[in-house]
Symmetry: C2
Subunit: 162 residues, 2 copies
Amino acid sequence: MGEPEPVPEKQASTTISQLADEFGITPRAIRYYEECGLLSPQRKTPSSQRLYDERDRARLKLILRGKRFGYSLTEIGDVIKLYDADPTQGKQIMRTLEYGLGHIQEIDERIEELEEIREEMLEFARSFLEILKNADGAETREMKEYISAATEIIGRMEGARR
Amino acid sequence: MGEPEPVPEKQASTTISQLADEFGITPRAIRYYEECGLLSPQRKTPSSQRLYDERDRARLKLILRGKRFGYSLTEIGDVIKLYDADPTQGKQIMRTLEYGLGHIQEIDERIEELEEIREEMLEFARSFLEILKNADGAETREMKEYISAATEIIGRMEGARR
DNA sequence: TATACAATTGACGTTAACGTTAACGTTATG
DNA sequence: CATAACGTTAACGTTAACGTCAATTGTATA
């Protein structure tokens, strides 16, 4: 016989507080997500410990991602159910793909909005620099230092992305 | 005398429900934002009608934007106060610029995360297409139609952004 | 196998962000 | 100028997303 044990069945090894630590949240929150139908960890018997595998981990990642972008748990749940649909049915796949296209378009809109915000903030910062340059006493040593510091910050603002 | 009236003082003409309709929210929400210190419309006398000008409109836009991206009203308020700081004080300007740099970096992180999500969704969609292609009965007329439809959707997913 | 430690199930508490209603004042309009 | 339509304050209600116990029950370990 070759190797002793490759993998039991489907590795489900992480306990709830391990998972919680890993993601910087509380066990209570994880149980709540389950209560909302967003997670379904394995158990050996009902009422024994919950055991989380990679699939659950990926789900949780998705949940927290959704939350960071302001989606409610219900909305996140809809997405999860959608992408969980049976992939043996051609029609199901088509529905999922169509919704997926919608989601990608939404993401693109958000990216565009974020880029607009970025540009607005830059303009705002540049206008501040102008205020400094045109201020009374722009000749003083202190002001000159401010102006060069501000110029550098704005450079970093512009440079960061692309 | 030349013109009769150029602009009263600073145009503040919009009533609360006009503004609410304009942004698709309720008057109550607008009053609540004021209660939180995020808006401060003019009044002719205390306890007369609130009147909103362009500045308020811009604020409200910012508030709703923040909300769309999952920020709390308190966080939004902090940002507003920051960018409202007295621009005659050099030191104030510097603080604002530094915070602004932080915000831009945060925005960039978000954009990157959104682009990652986009890419993951695309991979997911492509894997679905593979499932279709390798499915039993990929030769049937129905399946062939699904495959071409799916291919087109994925093309639109890829093509949308850049 | 005792015992400490972690997990489980209620159940109630909390906070943000409004919704809703009531009682009353203000403004526009036929 | 009457009156409908809109606005104002005040106060209580609601919902989502957990936090915080407390009382048990599983689980790891000396």
